[in-house]
């Protein structure tokens, strides 16, 4: 990539101004008065303790050598626009947009989505910045496995299709995520998605299934907890 292109591409960091400079000192009274930081922290705590999606991912990451520590690997920050969160591979941090996440169900989905990126970063050599196929694959997996393309969520977006609508949603969400963080044409992004979709849509690690619902996620978590017995007796 030549210097001109490097100067133009900011890899989506413009959406997360808190990554470079915090407006308020972390943990300060001013921060707690003028931001949703405490609410974000509380919802995050609830998500990691109760969401079967999050618990499974945290367990799988620990198993892969990437134990997640809330204070180290999560950061509640103000973000631009309507973005809900992101994974910063340079600092190994999940960013949660405290000004855009106001409901627990939304927090649960964002935490799951970003933990999938973190899990992919932990288990594979993902070239986030230079390989669009890698970025697209992780976005497909995150949209597919986080529950954000469930029937009820699609209904709330006024998308009423039924036959394989989940896949249409995954494509749409992955495309939107790629376009938000990379200066790439829609046509090129769609082409990259097509190239990797089949492989990445069917990669359900670490869930072993597509968790359409909390019950699916609980079953997947049950399987994860019993994995030693499972593989020992195959």
């Amino acid at each position: 990539m030549d210097q001109t292109k490097q100067q133009e591409e900011d890899y989506g960091y413009n959406l997360f101004p808190g990554r470079k400079k915090s407006k308020y000192k972390k943990g300060s009274i001013v921060e707690s008065l003028f931001t949703f930081n405490h609410k974000c922290q509380a919802m995050l705590q609830f998500a990691v303790e109760t969401s079967p999606y999050a618990k499974l991912l945290l367990g799988a990451m620990k198993n892969s050598g990437c134990t997640v520590y809330k204070d180290r690997h999560f950061s509640c920050e103000d973000c631009d626009g309507t973005v809900s969160g992101g994974f910063d591979a340079t600092t190994s941090q999940i960013v949660l947009c405290q000004n855009n996440i106001h409901q627990q169900a939304h927090m649960n989905r964002v935490v799951t989505h970003e933990l999938i990126h973190a899990f992919d970063h932990c288990r594979a050599h993902v070239d986030w910045f230079n390989n669009f196929k890698h970025l697209a694959c992780s976005e497909i997996r995150a949209a597919n496995l986080s529950g954000e393309c469930s029937f009820t969520n699609e209904l709330s977006r006024l998308n009423f299709g039924l036959n394989q609508q989940h896949q249409e949603c995954v494509r749409r969400c992955a495309l939107r995520s790629i376009l938000a963080v990379r200066k790439i044409s829609r046509e090129k992004a769609e082409k990259v998605l097509d190239e990797v979709f089949d492989s990445c849509f069917h990669d359900h690690t670490p869930f072993g299934r597509i968790p359409h619902s909390k019950k699916d996620a609980r079953f997947a978590y049950r399987d994860f907890e019993s994995r030693d017995r499972y593989y020992a007796n195959l």
Binding site: K20, K21, S22, K23, Y24, K25, K26, V30, S64, G65, C66, T67, R72, T91, S92, Q93, D120, H121, C122, R123, A124, H125, V126, D127, K133, H134, C137, S150, F151, L162, N163, Q164, Q165, H166, Q167, V196, S199, C200, H202, D203, H204, T205, G208, I210, H212, S213, K215, D216, F219, R222, D223, S226, R229, Y230, Y231, A232, N233, L234
Partner: protein, 108 residues
């Protein structure tokens, strides 16, 4: 690592096979399977596995064990039947646990 034949037991508790079967047959799950894949889910294998599991618990038959192992190996094989886009790591990223830089400027 495979468990020795003397210590072998079904890969899952028998009740788990039954709960997977019941879950698979539920209308909401069947709907979501169609919503995702455009087809109905195949649930019979869970029921067959439950039967084999119970059979093994009662009789420790080699046939029941083989049926269960074959079914589960097929499930694993289907899950692994993807060509990875990326290369898997042998070790986690070296900087995963490193402390953050403290050079972000902050208002006091």
């Amino acid at each position: 690592m495979m468990a020795g034949s003397e210590s072998w037991r079904p890969p899952r508790e028998c009740d788990v096979y039954w709960s997977e079967y019941k879950h698979c047959k539920r209308l909401w799950h069947r709907f979501h399977h169609y919503y995702t894949f455009g087809t109905s889910p195949l649930c019979q294998q869970w029921k067959d596995d439950y039967g084999a599991c119970r059979d093994w618990e009662k009789t420790h038959s080699a046939h029941a064990k083989e049926c269960l192992q074959e079914s589960e190996r097929k499930r694993v094989s289907e899950q692994r039947n993807v060509t990875p886009v990326w290369e898997l790591r042998e070790k986690p990223p070296a900087d995963w646990h490193m402390p953050l830089n403290q050079d972000k400027s902050q208002d006091s």
